[in-house]
């Protein structure tokens, strides 16, 4: 052994070096074997994992179609929003993943709403939306701390924007993430969790057209989720645009006129059934749903006893009160029980058996024919009609007006209301029909229930000479380029079973309500005498009666109703108003209708003058 000093040591050391040689070789072999294991034996598996680390599928959200009013003013459109999405590598609890994010947010005074987090565990490579519609401060935090938040990505997605907010909320509806129940439904195969669907109103009704089609892209991403390369893409298809029959200006006028009180306003064109305005109050801001609504907010909305989420125009059920008198009159005329000259005496009440039914006018109206009975809304006159009419025949006439069944409007969740018949009472209450039941029915109280929309349809029939139209909100559906995809032409539903003179009788009476002295609807009169209509006061029942609960709150004031049309000679607009607990129809509801008609007429005048100037 060269270079070493003592022979003895030399041998010792030489042995040691041999050991060392062996030790080094063994150790390196261990590493080599491990490399073999990882790269050769498990190589394929790791290669797959490395690819799934970095390859993923990204949903490309489609733009929902625009919703426009009759004059093509945009009511609902889209604007880009930033969503915080998390793509996990493995199964983890979502709540834990968010802990780090929350910590970083808190340093800047930002909060994350844990309520809105999806619950449970993630599944590998399935993106989970953590927060929708985040602002620039949160984006800054996520981007700055990208390395501490592996798997978090900020995505740009279109989000709905409702221009008019609460004014149009019930009509337009709102969107939200598809729920488990909806996914389970039959024709929902194209949808997956995380897709946006319409949940109410037009958004829901026309979701198939407006929703468009989600696209998909396969991308390569780096560790912070930033897209590095696109490997293939199916473009999203934007939804179709919808043009409604609604006029935004009239809608706003109606909303302002209602002034925040609970109730509804329906304005309709009696010539073809187009709805010009449909207001329901109280309302809500549909933009609240754009971020995903918090549990608290949802609770406040859905449990609010005033039911802001309900569209009172189509689902609010009320006793029609004196507005029903036109139906009773129509029935009496149609059956030949009375004519224009028939008189009844009102001394303030009518006695039947041992019960006395009062007229609202305590002193009575004296001798009345139909015209005056309608103008001054004499109850006793109609009690007499009620006595003479068979309730089932009355019901038949009511149905001809479109009452007691759905109108067929293109909105979800419409209610049919109730027009009582003998059979109904037998089936529902297990009792026979009594004469005492016909009396309140004849003045629109009792078991009768109608929606404001039904009133508008019924009175439109009176206005236009007897045609009962299907009310329509949707005018047409267009593609992005403006090509018409589908139209929704007006539909006749029926014709009133009255001849011209009978119709004329009623119409003149309605004119009198507004324009003659003693008329209950004077509050709606205009100097040119264009408006005709009928007031109504619907009793609020404080106790359940005979097991039938009328939808009311236990308060004292009655509901105020008013239905009218204008201009009298050739009506172009019908307006039905209900102000809950407003008191008398004439004082509370009529002024609301007048404002709408003023706006409508004023706008027409401006248009006429403009075209004259040209």
């Amino acid at each position: 052994m060269m270079g070493l000093i003592n022979g003895n040591e030399g041998t010792e050391l030489r042995v040691r070096f041999r050991y060392l040689l062996v030790a080094v070789l063994v150790a390196m072999t261990v590493l080599g074997v491990r490399l073999w294991y990882l790269q050769i034996i498990k190589g394929e598996e790791f290669r797959e994992r490395s690819e799934s680390n970095s390859l993923r599928f990204r949903k490309l959200r489609a733009f929902r179609g625009l919703i426009m009013d009759a004059r093509r003013q945009v009511l609902a459109d889209n604007h880009p929003a930033f969503d915080l999405v998390y793509v996990p590598n493995r199964v983890v609890d979502i709540r834990k993943v968010v802990d780090k994010l929350e910590e970083l947010y808190e340093k800047r005074g930002l909060k994350i709403d844990r309520d809105l987090l999806p619950s449970g565990k993630t599944r590998p490579f399935i993106p989970v939306c953590i927060e929708r519609n985040i602002g620039p401060e949160k984006i800054a935090v996520v981007e700055a701390h990208a390395l501490d938040l592996p798997g978090f990505v900020v995505e740009v997605n279109p989000v709905r924007r409702y221009v008019e907010g609460e004014v149009m909320a019930h009509l337009i509806g709102y969107t939200g993430e598809i729920s488990q129940e909806e996914l389970a439904q039959e024709d929902m195969e194209d949808f997956t969790a995380g897709d946006t669907v319409g949940k109410a109103g037009i958004e829901k009704y026309l979701d198939g057209y407006i929703g468009g089609r989600t696209g998909i892209e396969q991308v390569e991403v780096n560790v912070v989720g930033r897209v590095v390369k696109s490997l293939g893409r199916i473009d999203p298809v934007a939804g179709h645009n919808v043009q409604l029959t609604i006029r935004a200006d009239l809608q706003k006028t109606a909303w302002d006129a209602l002034g925040g009180r609970a109730g509804a306003v329906v304005a309709m064109d009696p010539r073809d059934g187009s709805i010009l305005a449909m207001v329901s109050s109280p309302s809500f801001d549909p933009n609240m749903f754009n971020k995903g609504i918090s549990r608290n907010d949802w609770k406040n909305l859905s449990r609010n006893p005033l039911c802001p989420l309900e569209n009172r125009a189509v689902s609010g059920l009320y006793p029609p009160g004196s507005t029903y008198k036109v139906v009773v009159a129509a029935a009496a005329l149609g059956e030949g029980i009375i004519d224009g000259e028939t008189r009844f005496f009102c001394n303030g009440s009518l006695t039947l058996g041992d019960h006395s039914y009062r007229c609202w006018q305590r002193h009575g109206h004296g001798w009345c024919r139909l015209h005056r009975a309608v103008v001054e809304s004499c109850d006793v006159f109609f009690y007499n009609l009620g006595k003479l009419l068979d309730v089932d025949r009355l019901a038949w006439y009511a149905k001809q007006f479109g009452l007691g069944s759905t109108t067929g409007i293109d909105l979800p969740r419409e209610k049919p209301g109730l027009i009582p018949t003998k059979a109904w009472k037998q089936a529902r209450l297990k009792q026979n029909w009594r004469m005492g039941d016909s009396i309140p029915v004849s003045i629109g109280q009792g078991y009768n229930l109608v929606t404001p929309l039904q009133l508008a349809v019924a009175y439109s029939a009176l206005a236009n000479g007897g045609v009962v139209w299907r009310p329509r909100i949707i005018d047409r559906i267009e593609s992005l380029e403006g090509k018409v995809i589908k139209t929704f032409p007006p539909e006749k539903r029926g014709v009133l079973p009255l001849d011209a003179s009978q119709l004329g009788l009623i119409r003149r009476a309605l004119w009198g309500v507004v324009n003659e002295s003693g008329g209950t609807g004077r509050a709606a009169s205009k100097p040119d005498g264009e408006v005709a209509g009928k007031t109504g006061t619907s009793q609020v029942v404080s106790m359940p009666r005979d097991g039938v609960r009328v939808k009311t709150l236990a308060r004292r004031e009655d509901h105020a109703l008013f239905v009218c049309f204008a201009p009298y000679r050739a009506p172009e607009i019908t307006v039905a108003v209900i102000v809950e607990h407003g008191g008398h129809g004439g004082s509370a509801a009529a002024p609301v209708a007048k404002k709408v008609i003023d706006a409508f007429m004023g706008d027409k005048k401006v248009a006429r003058e403009a075209s004259r100037e040209r």
Binding site: L31, G32, Q39, F46, S50, P150
Partner: protein, 369 residues
């Protein structure tokens, strides 16, 4: 006998070539880890690494030009200087990533703990060479060198730098095993060590404890230390037989590998060069270590042997622990891969060591007078 001057005739070219080859591959690899796939700027770390090597090369020539025995007369002085630097670091050190390891002087950042490795090897070599007659050593004799280790060990542990402290300790143990200890004493030491383990555990920082626990179950903490191990194994494994190709390692290029230019540098290499490339590099390292052992064996005196052996163990354990960690068979401790990982101070110190080794090798024929 000449004391200065470069004994050029006896330069161990094979050794030098091995070192340069490994270093060159390292630079190429660092280039890859800093390469920007998305078309941005490529990181200039590889340039810094080349600069470090140039400085190291000069340092190597310097240490080569001195007789190693002369250097070792100052071994204890060098040792004290290094300890002093460590103290300075703990007082004025520059902290990053939660650890205080660097001093900045005139725009250069410098890691005293790296220098400590070299100093300790020299100091231990000096001690065991001086106390040669009392061999095999009893526990009593081991205490001074143990103290030599203990001081920097705790200073470095405080930084906190578990990896470097561990390496110092392991180098010490290797040295002790090499020089020979009585069996009984070895056993006592081993038992003492095992007793110290729970105490040591207590001193570990939380994240270091986490790392040990996660080693046994990476899925325990898939976003913390478990993440590193998992990503590393994915990168290595996905390299397959032939690798994904230079600059084409998806894990590396997409930055899924954390610390890929330092601790996990081998993962990046394995992903791009596959099994064949990894085995090739492993063979290079093996050759390097065996070559240093050869220098140790052929050294003209015991001192040379000790120094060379110390280096061999430093590099051997560095390779074993780093690659073992990358492959998931060793817990994650921050130990860089010698000549390969990015790190200026490490490179310069290693090259200084190379210079000393070249000197030992060159002087092997010269008999002591």
């Amino acid at each position: 006998m000449r004391r200065y001057g470069l004994p050029l005739a006896n330069i161990d070219w094979t050794f030098l070539v091995l070192v340069l080859l490994i270093s060159a591959i390292g630079v190429l690899n660092i280039y890859s880890t800093g390469f920007s796939v998305a078309g941005g700027k490529t990181s200039t770390l590889y340039v810094k690494q080349i600069q470090s090597f140039l400085i190291g090369f000069i340092a190597m020539i310097l240490t080569f030009s001195f007789d190693y025995r002369r250097i070792c007369t100052y071994a204890y002085v060098i040792y004290c200087l290094s300890v002093a630097l460590l103290v300075i670091v703990s007082l004025y050190g520059y902290t990053t990533h939660g650890s205080q390891r660097w001093i900045i002087v005139a725009g250069f950042s410098f890691q005293p703990s790296e220098l400590m490795k070299l100093s300790l090897i020299l100091a231990l070599a000096r001690y065991f060479n001086d106390h040669r007659s009392v061999w095999p050593y009893s526990t009593k004799e081991i205490i001074p060198p143990a103290l030599l280790v203990a001081v920097p060990f705790f200073l470095i542990l405080r930084q906190p730098d578990l990896g470097t402290a561990l390496i110092l300790f392991i180098v010490f143990v290797s040295a002790v095993l090499f020089v020979g200890v009585r069996w009984l004493d070895l056993l006592t030491a081993a038992v003492g060590f095992l007793i110290m383990l729970p105490v040591g555990w207590f001193f570990l920082k939380d994240y270091q404890k986490e790392r040990v626990l996660t080693f046994f179950n990476p899925d325990r903490d898939p976003f913390g230390s478990g993440y590193h191990i998992i990503q590393s194994m994915i990168a290595v494994g996905s390299g397959g037989l032939l690798g994904k190709g230079f600059l084409k390692g998806t894990q590396t290029q997409l930055k899924f590998l954390p610390e890929q230019h330092t601790d996990f540098i081998f993962s990046a290499f394995a992903e791009e060069w596959g099994f064949l490339g990894s085995i090739f590099l492993l063979i290079l390292f093996t050759l390097l270590i065996l070559w240093i052992l050869k220098i140790a064996r052929h050294s003209r005196d015991y001192l040379g042997t000790l120094i060379a052996y110390g280096f061999a163990s430093l590099i051997f354990w560095g390779v074993m622990i780093n690659i073992g960690m990358v492959l998931g068979i060793v817990p994650v401790v921050g130990i860089p891969l010698p000549f390969f990982s990015y790190g200026g101070s490490a490179v310069v110190v290693l090259m200084m060591g190379v210079g000393i080794l070249l000197n030992i090798s060159a002087k092997r024929f010269i008999l002591q007078s």
